[in-house]
């Protein structure tokens, strides 16, 4: 036997460093090392040391009584964690992330990246690509440290670095006192007092036609009924991780009037008798995180919620965690892998309990619907398309931003009536009706009423999170498609073959020079649609399908 191990070699694998263990313990404090707080602990170490060294991860594993693999596999899943092993260089002290998703691509993100990389000292600044940061109306967007920047240029970014403007900047928003002074939380109180019943609210939401505004469009009140039908204890989650490229409405609402969402959440939690609310928030929104921390603490101080009832959780840079079951996995401290359905999360959700999950904006409307009446809300739309929606419009329009417009509005109406028309020198050519996964439609289909189902569905498209990106003659749709497919390839969780392999193969095929092998592409599309576990894989082929159907001239 050749391999004779030297005696007394000690235990196998990476030894534990006592100093690192002491540092981790001091940093994490005396609290319980709950398994589901793993991602929060990783954030603490990343924030403090700028990266996750192998020794710190080993110490964290020891402290949490996990194995090294269990900690490493979670840390390596998320974009915002930098694992640095022995012998590897830790990243530069400051990171500038430049968005390279579709709206920012239109606004010159590639040039910005190149200029930055040329102009920044790599020992001091790390320049990175990043997927959609939810600042599409201010494209090209960037983030220096924790400071989010709109209309970024290489020049002003480097200037800000020199000036030390790298801390989070919290915009002015309606705080707790201001919110209460205009009637905030009175509805919650009356519900808690029993003046309004849960069934009553469910009926109102149904009449108003409030549907899930994260993309699935499920009737909100109906969901409450499902969750309530399963025995408790029940839990609630707020999905603040909507990261569909082109979407920024959630950020706008939380940066403007966060308590409206919180009150809606507390009302919903009361309705399903949830024992706790987990607010899972995109880590790409540092300002929103700061606001929520402050305001949740304020609610606790004011006695409106029990301390700890609303638990804020940071995402860590993974679009897939906006998918509700993947989000629950992330809240449980795991890799964000979507679960198999059935069972649905209303029955078996967070920690195996029935869970109610809502998008930020869905909750935002609850107070208005109840106070002003469902007819008011429904009437903002039309009989076929009740209700109003928040459209995140970006791209080649004069005035991009969040536009409140009725459900069933057309893209032409959005452009002309809400965005001041196309930008100068740009002619309307194509648009994304629902972010990267809703497909690409030509201008000739610009009069389709945008809503869940309907004509859009017949065209193989959907509104999803209502993120509309407008293209002009300056944009080659094949390039747009490639940009979207690269996004999906980067964000695929990797669990199932059709999505993991399909997104990668589609990018490779789109990149190649010359005519596209269309039957190969159609085969990929077929297996992704029919056999992917979750919506990412099922919807990812949409842009490619439309490219081959409507934009053959761009091939």
């Amino acid at each position: 036997m050749q391999d004779r191990r030297r005696r007394d070699r000690g235990p196998k694998g990476r030894p534990l460093d006592d100093a690192a263990l002491a540092e981790v313990r001091a940093l994490l404090g005396a609290g319980e090392r709950r398994r589901d707080l793993l991602i929060e602990f990783l954030h603490m170490i990343q924030d403090r040391y700028g990266h996750l060294s192998a020794q710190h991860l080993r110490a964290l594993a020891e402290d949490m009584r996990l194995s090294q693999a269990e900690v490493y596999e979670v840390a390596s899943f998320y974009d915002h964690f930098d694992v640095v092993k022995e012998g590897e260089a830790s990243p530069a002290p400051l990171t500038i992330r430049v968005c390279d998703s579709v709206s920012c691509m239109l606004a010159g993100a590639e040039t910005l990246l190149a200029e930055l990389q040329a102009g920044a000292d790599p020992a001091a600044i790390r320049v990175m690509r990043a997927p959609c940061m939810g600042r599409c109306a201010g494209a090209p967007a960037a983030r220096i440290g924790d400071r989010e920047v709109d209309h970024a240029t290489a020049g002003n970014l480097l200037q800000m670095v020199d000036a030390g403007e790298i801390r989070v900047r919290v915009p002015a928003y309606i705080g707790l006192d201001a919110y209460r002074s205009t009637g905030g939380y009175r509805l919650l109180q009356s519900i808690r007092d029993g003046a309004v019943t849960t069934d009553g609210i469910i009926a109102m939401l149904g009449n108003a036609g409030l549907r899930g505004l994260g993309g699935a469009g499920f009737p909100a009140g109906k969901k409450w009924g499902f969750v309530r039908s399963y025995p408790g204890p029940r839990l609630m989650s707020i999905n603040g991780d909507e990261g569909e490229p082109g979407t920024f409405k959630d950020r706008i609402y939380l940066e403007k009037d966060p308590h409206r969402t919180l009150e809606g959440a507390l009302i919903a939690a009361h309705a399903v008798e949830a024992e706790r609310i987990y607010f899972y928030m995109r880590d790409e929104y540092p300002a929103v995180l700061a606001i929520l921390r402050t305001e949740i603490a304020a609610l606790e101080t004011a006695g409106l919620v029990e301390p700890g009832f609303i638990e804020l959780r940071r995402g860590a840079g993974a679009y897939i965690c906006g998918e509700e079951s993947a989000m629950l996995e992330s809240i449980e401290g795991r890799r964000g892998m979507p679960r198999h359905r059935p069972p649905y999360i209303a029955e078996v959700g967070l920690f195996g309990r029935p869970t109610l999950n809502h998008n930020v904006e869905t909750l935002w409307w609850i107070r208005d619907i109840v106070e002003k009446g469902p007819e008011w809300f429904a009437g903002l739309g039309s009989p076929d398309h009740p209700g109003v929606r928040s459209w995140s419009v970006s791209g080649r329009v004069k005035e991009p931003g969040v536009k409140l417009a009725p459900a069933g509005v057309t893209v032409r109406e959005l452009i002309e009536d809400h965005c001041g028309g196309m930008a100068d020198g740009h002619e309307f050519k194509a648009y994304l009706p629902g972010g990267a996964s809703g497909g690409i439609l030509p201008a000739s289909m610009g009069d389709i009423q945008l809503d869940f189902g309907g004509e859009l569905a017949k065209q193989g498209a959907f509104v999803g999170s209502h993120a509309v990106v407008v293209f002009s003659q300056a944009d080659n749709i094949r390039d747009v498609t490639l940009n979207l497919m690269k996004f999906f390839k980067h964000e695929s969780c990797g669990k199932c073959t059709p999505c993991r392999e399909g997104t990668e193969k589609l990018v490779t095929l789109l990149k190649q020079v010359g005519p596209l092998p269309e039957s190969n592409i159609r085969d990929l599309e077929m297996v992704m649609r029919d056999s992917s576990i979750c919506g990412l894989g099922q919807a990812a082929p949409n842009p490619v399908n439309h490219l081959l159907t409507h934009f053959r001239s761009d091939l």
Binding site: G13, Q68, A69, E70, E73, H340, G494, K495, N520
Partner: protein, 769 residues
């Protein structure tokens, strides 16, 4: 079947059991659906990620993964629609696109290629993912036995489940995301430098050969070269006491691979020893010819022969010469000094058959009872305590019952190192919520899964355990009913541990009083608790006392005799546990022995005249028999010349022999009368080799209906019956427990492996394993 779920599968009405998936039912019905990530072995849950098993469910928007989907009543499932078939083929094509051609790959006979070739999957239409993006497939041969070729990896996660859920070594994780997803060891470390213990479960689970045995591959560890085996033999692992069943593949008279077989003790799992520890069989250092010491070589006990050419000390000889030399020498000593000049010491590395032959050789050949066994050191102390407290040296539960237990104490054992496959069940139980309590002066791996880890001062076991007993008695956590029905001596125990409060013992054993209390409460209050102990308890100056404490813990809390309760002594070697057990009628390891004890005489030494407890004092202390003295139904095996370990001495409950002079078995209350089977006289009935309690003559006795032991029947009873009694033949008693024949007359058969009703354990199954 009742409560089944009826649905339609490919036009046929079928019924599924509650926990069956569509794939399970399809297989049962003879429809083969391709599968990759679904590992069809016990202990593996389906994961539904490879999407190779897609089927069409009527009315659903997308296809369903049959391996993970459970049917509902009335569901209409079709496996062979165009849509499902094309999806499955695309899945295989996409996976194959990243791999080398089968013949050049790590295993062309892997499950993946078996399916791919049967489906006619071709490579070449799509570019490999390793050709783009500067991605290089990982190749790692740092592990001495396993080759890692990750270009064949389909990230199905079977290896992750193998390592994290089946073996629970927690070394493998699935790291990164998207098409960078990759199985990793620890923090993406080389396998040979990680905490991997090379149990090989991942190799067994991997469907593509991405993780594969080097022994079947070429020197570089890239391609399988051993394609066929000359034979595959069903066997059992020769190493520890778990008794994992194996399949040994042989080629050119060499072992080339060992795989796990689905046995009751291991469910297809193995550890590094069982799977890869076979190279010693082919080692060039093995003795192949008999060697006799050279006349010019001095005899010295301290010579270290490692690395020394044996031919400098020994010379080759023929078998005849060597046997002559050995037998002649032994005979000479026997003739000069008599039997007592010789002794034999057996080992549990031998098989049961070898052990039997060896003791026969010593007793009959040497004519002495000077034979002992390595289990003297390992188990004698535990066995003594068990015989005393429970009346049986057997374990009372299989270790897999840990999965049914709510609380498991592990003391004096390091199962993760010494009984790795048994440890997997403990770890699985811990992950499912069973509270593990690990007591070990040294830290050990199981402590990571433990609710309580007690690193007590070495040697202070009794102090610590008595403190636990104190808490249980003091806080009235004992099972009153159980004690009244089955246990004697409780009052004495209570009095004894009165002074052993946790506060008093904390200093002695080095565990905080608070922890001792919590541990005692956890153990006592759990619905089902088990104790698993090992050599740390028994290879000990007061191992018997240690074991007594543990048995007391189980008996006063009633945690014995039900599923998920009881105690287990882990046996170090294959036949350790079985061989010495004077009282076992239930052995869980397929290798343990049913045969008689070899340690009767020394046990008696243990069971000395000093009573250790009231219960103990009440017991007849004759060799192995622990009946209550007053119990008329127990029989002493005293006096037969050939009787194993017997000594012609009076029964301690008062000589009641009649007409014997230490000859045949005597009866405590009877008078040597005719055996009901007709043998008039005293001594074992020659017909069946049973020892019967002799009934008063004249009464009409029914014939014994208990069948003879299988062993006895098999070994030509006729011939034995003709042999005179007392030739040293091993008595092989009937394996039964005390029974009544219903007429009120006591009729019992003496048995040496008795599970007496009066003991603290309920009657165990008389079915032998």
């Amino acid at each position: 079947m009742a409560n089944g779920i009826t649905f339609t599968l490919d036009g046929k009405t079928v019924t599924a059991a509650q926990d069956e998936t569509i794939w399970d039912v399809a297989r049962r019905e003879g429809t083969k659906i391709p599968h990759l990530c679904h590992v069809d072995m016990p202990g593996y849950r389906p994961d539904g990620n490879c999407r190779a098993c897609m089927v069409d469910v009527e009315g659903e928007r997308v296809l369903a993964a049959s391996c993970i989907r459970k049917p509902t009543a009335g569901m209409v499932v079709k496996t062979d629609t165009e849509r499902a078939r094309k999806s499955r083929e695309m899945v295989f094509e996409l996976l194959a696109s990243n791999m080398r051609p089968a013949a050049k790959g790590p295993d062309q006979q892997s499950l993946f290629w078996q399916w791919a070739s049967s489906m006619g999957i071709a490579q070449g239409r799509f570019e490999s993912r390793f050709a783009v993006d500067d991605m290089r497939p990982e190749f790692d041969v740092t592990n001495p036995a396993i080759a890692v070729n990750l270009d064949a990896c389909i990230t199905c996660g079977a290896c992750v489940r193998a390592c994290r859920e089946v073996q629970v070594n927690d070394v493998i994780g699935m790291a990164q995301r998207g098409n960078h997803s990759v199985p990793v060891f620890d923090m993406h470390d080389p396998m040979g430098l990680s905490t991997c213990v090379t149990c090989g479960e991942c190799v067994q689970a991997c469907p593509t050969g991405a993780l594969y045995e080097k022994s079947l591959m070429d020197e570089t560890g890239r391609t399988r070269v051993v394609q066929e085996f000359d034979k595959v033999i069903d066997s059992v692992c020769p190493f520890c006491g778990v008794g994992c069943q194996t399949k040994v593949a042989v080629k050119d008279n060499r072992i080339v691979q060992i795989d796990g077989r689905d046995g009751p003790a291991n469910e297809s799992r193995l550890c590094v020893k069982g799977r890869f520890g076979y190279d010693y069989a082919m080692s060039p250092e093995r003795l192949t010819k008999p060697l006799i010491r050279r006349d010019d070589a001095p005899k010295a006990g301290e010579i270290d022969l490692r690395g020394v050419d044996p031919l400098t000390i020994f010379r080759e000889a023929t078998w005849e010469e060597a046997l002559e030399r050995a037998a002649g020498g032994l005979k000479r000593i026997r003739d000069e000094h008599g039997g007592k000049g010789l002794a034999g010491f057996g080992s549990a590395k031998g098989s049961n058959e070898e052990a039997y032959l060896f003791q026969k050789f010593v007793r009959q050949g040497f004519g002495t009872n000077n034979v002992d066994h390595c289990t003297r050191l390992c188990h004698a102390s535990s066995v003594a305590a068990l015989m005393e407290g429970v009346g049986s040296g057997a374990v009372s539960a299989p270790f897999m019952d840990a999965l049914k237990a709510d609380c498991v104490i592990i003391i004096g054992a390091r199962p993760a190192t010494n009984h790795p496959v048994a440890a997997t069940y403990f770890k699985q139980a811990a992950k499912r919520g069973t509270k593990l309590i690990v007591m070990d002066p040294r830290g050990q791996e199981m402590m990571r899964h433990a609710a309580y880890s007690l690193r007590f001062k070495p040697g202070s076991d009794v102090a610590m355990l008595n403190a636990l007993l104190h808490v249980i008695i003091d806080e009235k956590l004992y099972d009153e009913q159980y004690i009244q029905a089955n246990v004697s001596g409780f009052r004495a125990l209570e009095a004894k541990v009165k002074d052993f409060s946790p506060e008093a013992m904390a200093e002695v054993c080095g565990i905080e009083a608070d922890v001792l209390r919590q541990v005692a409460r956890t153990y006592a209050k759990a619905e089902r608790s088990m104790i698993f102990w090992g050599m740390g308890v028994s290879q000990h100056t007061h191992g018997t006392d240690n074991s007594r404490c543990l048995i007391a813990l189980a008996l006063i809390t009633g945690h014995v005799g039900r599923a998920g309760t009881g105690f287990i002594r882990c046996a170090v070697r294959t036949t350790c546990r079985g061989l010495p057990m004077p009282g076992s009628s239930r052995c869980i390891s397929p290798t343990t022995s049913r045969w008689r004890t070899l340690i009767s005489a020394p046990v008696r030494e243990f069971l000395g005249p000093d009573a250790r407890s009231e219960a103990w004092a009440d017991r007849c202390r004759d060799r192995g028999c622990h009946s209550r003295r007053r119990d008329p139904r127990h029989v002493h095996h005293g006096g037969e010349p050939g009787d194993v370990g017997s000594r012609p001495e009076p029964c301690p409950c008062g000589p009641r022999q009649t007409g014997t002079s230490g000859g045949a078995g005597h009866l405590p209350d009877g008078d040597g009368m005719a055996c009901r089977c007709g043998f008039a006289g005293i001594g074992p009935c020659r017909k069946t080799r049973h020892l019967h309690q002799h009934q008063p003559a004249g009464a009409d006795r029914p014939a014994c209906t208990r069948p003879a032991r299988r062993g006895a029947a098999r070994s030509r009873p006729d011939r034995r019956a003709r042999q005179p009694h007392g030739t040293g033949l091993e008595l092989r008693p009937c394996l039964g427990s005390l029974h009544r024949d219903g007429t009120g007359d006591a009729f019992a058969e003496a048995h040496l492996l008795g599970t007496h009703r009066t003991r603290g354990i309920r009657r165990l199954s008389s079915r032998r394993t």
